[in-house]
């Protein structure tokens, strides 16, 4: 057979979580990777290309990690269906690579036994083989290979060792004409699982000699990191450090991005003639993209910490430590990471809720994620606090403005816990999904993998900004621009637009919470991104360059608003439902319009109730 007619081989990577599967995928495919979603589900699909020594191409698919083909989450369903060749829009893999952590074979042996039933040609990659050797773990590779009936390759993915050998073995198997046999796999019941474990035990006993120097480091580190008191103290210190980093390190690059987009806007504005096209490009496109990309530094810093801690093996420990604390509110321990990300922006937070395998727990987490104070609220908070809260010291040490800021963060967290508690009662009737989680051994993160992952997160965020957020900002620009003001109009142009009319229309509804029509109008462009409301307030109050000169806008507001109105606006923004991007991401992640609708309704209701309570109380105390 000539090389040309032999079609490219399709390979799928299967393995337990924490087996170094993604590192092996990276080592196999290098930078030739493509990340997308599987058709119809929001499971990340990662495909790349590897090349054999004689130049043939292998298409490698990285499947989500699993302990069994008996799928329990959307991710694991993708793995099962891909392995079985049932996945819509996917070709069946020609060869499976089962990735195993050589130091932790017991569970993967059971997965291998299941995979063997599927009947596809398979290569076993014993990864992290260097650690196994260092521990003095002896594996009789030849006999194990004969017993399992599949070739075995030892690899060290992080050092790219054994990769050529693996590619050669896969290629050999594909060329040997080994065809898939009939699938004999059916979902195992309890007795099947028991007998598979017995078989795995037999294999382990026959071919694997226990390590001479087993890993004792993990136990020692856990004694500190999982300690009921010290462990929590370390976790909270880490969080504190992360927040410091997110808000202080991100400052300079954010200023740079803002200045860059500002300069770009001016440059384009100077070239283009005045008119609609200029307004569309400068005020719509450039300002819109800029207002989203400005969060990129914060998101990258946050993800840097999360990826680092994840690779180290700490995130499972954090979930363990937080499980009971969050469990009181009906949240899963794993919800901790998504909620943490939401302090930068709810979008990556909602996306990372995929780590939660229980569907109900994942939905609850998605629903409450936007209640975490995202950084888009900060410009609004600083503007109002600076204008209305006196800058003085209370109790001898605390700044009153800082206290109000802290109070707003706390209100967000408490309401998230409250909402998840109610959700659990209302929608799930108290049912609690099991919490079972492997605590992986600690490993030194590899710089290359951290960098690659970070780039991946950045590109996902940017492409999302392009595909979802950009059209939305254009739509909102249209609402705020058309129809234009009549000739001889004196008020700001936005007042005559659809947004302005909507603002006037809804104003009577918002009067009981103390909002005037200018505020109501400003809420509409705020749908693009919450902090755009600041610029919009600047527009309606005709304060030029409001976002960079909050001082000027602040003093204007201080003369136009009562204290009760200002406090009511802050209370509204604790909940602030108007973030179109968040709603769009929720639609994508849940594959339904129901959940974004539920989210919008409950957040609007809470925002209204909170603002009403605050306004009426403050007015009763004479601040109206």
């Amino acid at each position: 057979m000539s090389e040309a007619v032999l079609p490219a081989t399709r390979v799928a990577l299967v393995g337990n979580p924490n087996s170094g599967k993604t590192a092996l995928f990276n080592a196999l495919t290098g930078s030739r990777q493509k990340v997308a979603n599987y058709a119809g589900v929001t499971v990340e699909r990662k495909e790349g290309q590897a090349h054999t020594a004689d130049g043939r191409t292998l298409y490698v698919l990285d499947l989500p990690g699993t302990y069994s083909l008996r799928a329990r989450s959307p991710d694991e369903e993708v793995t099962r269906d891909a392995v079985l060749g049932r996945l819509a829009g996917e070709q069946s893999p020609d060869v499976l690579i089962c990735v195993a952590d050589a130091t932790n074979l017991r569970l993967v042996l059971r997965l291998i036994l299941e995979l063997k039933q599927v009947g596809r040609p398979m290569v076993l990659a014993l990864n992290m083989y260097d650690i196994a050797q260092r521990q003095g773990l002896r594996i009789d590779l030849d006999s194990l290979s004969r017993d399992l009936g599949c070739p075995i390759v030892t690899t060290v993915a992080t050092r790219k060792r054994g990769i050529e050998d693996l590619v050669a073995k896969v290629d050999e198997l594909a060329r040997s004409g080994a065809l898939s046999q009939d699938n004999a796999w059916t979902a195992p019941d309890a007795s099947d699982i028991r007998s598979a474990h017995r078989e795995a035990q037999r294999i382990l006993k026959a071919y694997v000699r226990p390590p001479e120097h087993p890993d004792t480091l993990t136990g020692k580190v856990d004694a500190v990191l999982l300690h009921p008191v010290a462990g929590l103290a370390i976790l909270f210190s880490l969080l504190f450090l992360m927040f410091q980093a997110v808000f202080s390190w991100a400052g300079p690059p954010q200023d740079l991005i803002e200045a860059g987009f500002g300069a770009l806007g001016q440059l384009v504005g100077a070239v283009l003639p005045d008119g609609l096209l200029k307004s569309l490009i400068v005020d719509g496109a450039i300002a819109g993209i800029g207002s989203v990309l400005v969060f990129l530094p914060q998101i990258l810093i946050l993800f840097f910490f999360i990826i680092l801690l994840e690779d180290f093996g700490y995130m499972a420990r954090a979930a363990f430590l937080m499980d009971r604390i969050m469990g009181g509110a009906g949240l899963h321990g794993r919800a901790f990471i998504p909620l943490l990300s939401s302090f930068a922006c709810a979008i990556p937070g909602i996306m990372s809720a995929r780590v939660i395998d229980a569907k109900r727990d994942r939905l609850t987490t998605i629903l409450v994620a936007p209640l975490m104070t995202c950084s888009a609220r900060i410009p609004v908070y600083t503007l109002i606090i600076g204008a209305f809260i006196p800058d003085r010291t209370v109790w001898g040490f605390a700044s009153l403005q800082g206290l109000v800021m802290f109070g707003l963060y706390a209100a967000g967290i408490l309401s998230a816990l409250g909402v998840s508690f109610v959700t659990r009662r209302l929608f799930w009737r108290g049912a609690v999904e099991p919490f079972l989680m492997e605590l992986p051994t600690y490993k030194a993160p590899s710089a290359e993998n951290v960098a690659r992952n970070l780039l991946l997160r950045a590109s996902i965020f940017i492409s999302r900004a392009g595909r979802i957020i950009f059209p939305l900002t254009i739509a909102i620009w249209v609402l705020s621009t058309f129809p234009g003001p009549p000739a001889g109009a004196t008020g700001p142009a936005i007042d005559y637009s659809f947004a302005g009319r909507l603002g006037h229309l809804f104003q009577p509804l918002l009067a009981p919470i103390g909002f005037n029509w200018q505020m109501t109008v400003a809420l509409i462009p705020g749908f693009a991104a919450r902090e755009v409301a600041v610029a919009a307030l600047g527009t309606v109050y005709a304060v030029a360059d409001a976002e960079n000169a909050t001082g000027a806008l602040g003093s204007t507001l201080a003369t136009h608003w009562s204290l009760a109105t200002a406090l009511s606006f802050l209370a509204w923004y604790v909940f602030a439902p108007q973030c179109a991007s968040t709603l769009a991401v929720v639609k994508r992640e849940t594959n339904s319009w129901l959940w974004p609708a539920v989210m919008f309704v409950y957040m609007t209701a809470l925002a209204y109730i909170a603002a009403f309570a605050v306004y009426q109380t403050a007015a009763a105390f004479g601040a109206g």
């Binding site: 569970l107 019941d189 009921p228 929590l232 999904e433 492997e438 605590l439």
Partner: protein, 110 residues
């Protein structure tokens, strides 16, 4: 299959004894033993999944008859969840999900 009939033992004095059979949900840090039964009969559930499904998940994680278990760590609030050594790996789980795992304590219990 193991059909050992374990009385749900509550008294602390009994659980300390070597050879006593207790639920994993009742074990405290330092206790260790061998799993003698993994059941699907926890009646006070309210689990989001059926008891048979919970049993399968426990089995899949390696909570099988004959496996060695040692409770390593307990959470700060209500001693929950627990982190256990299960043969050669470490697993975290909530006590409520561990009720159907029965183990026979060995003599080295702390």
């Amino acid at each position: 299959m193991n059909q050992i009939i374990a009385q749900p033992v509550a008294a602390q004095a009994v659980t300390e004894q070597e050879g006593a059979i207790i639920r994993l949900s009742q074990a405290h840090a330092g206790q260790r033993g061998v799993i003698v039964d993994v059941r699907a009969d926890d009646t006070n559930h309210g689990h989001g999944v059926a008891v048979e499904e919970l049993q399968r998940r426990l089995l899949e994680f390696g909570f099988v008859e004959g496996a060695f278990v040692e409770v390593l760590h307990e959470g700060a609030i209500g001693h929950d969840p627990i982190a256990v050594r299960l043969d050669d790996m470490r697993v975290a789980l909530r006590r409520r999900d561990a009720a159907d795992v029965l183990l026979r304590l060995d003599g080295h219990s702390a």
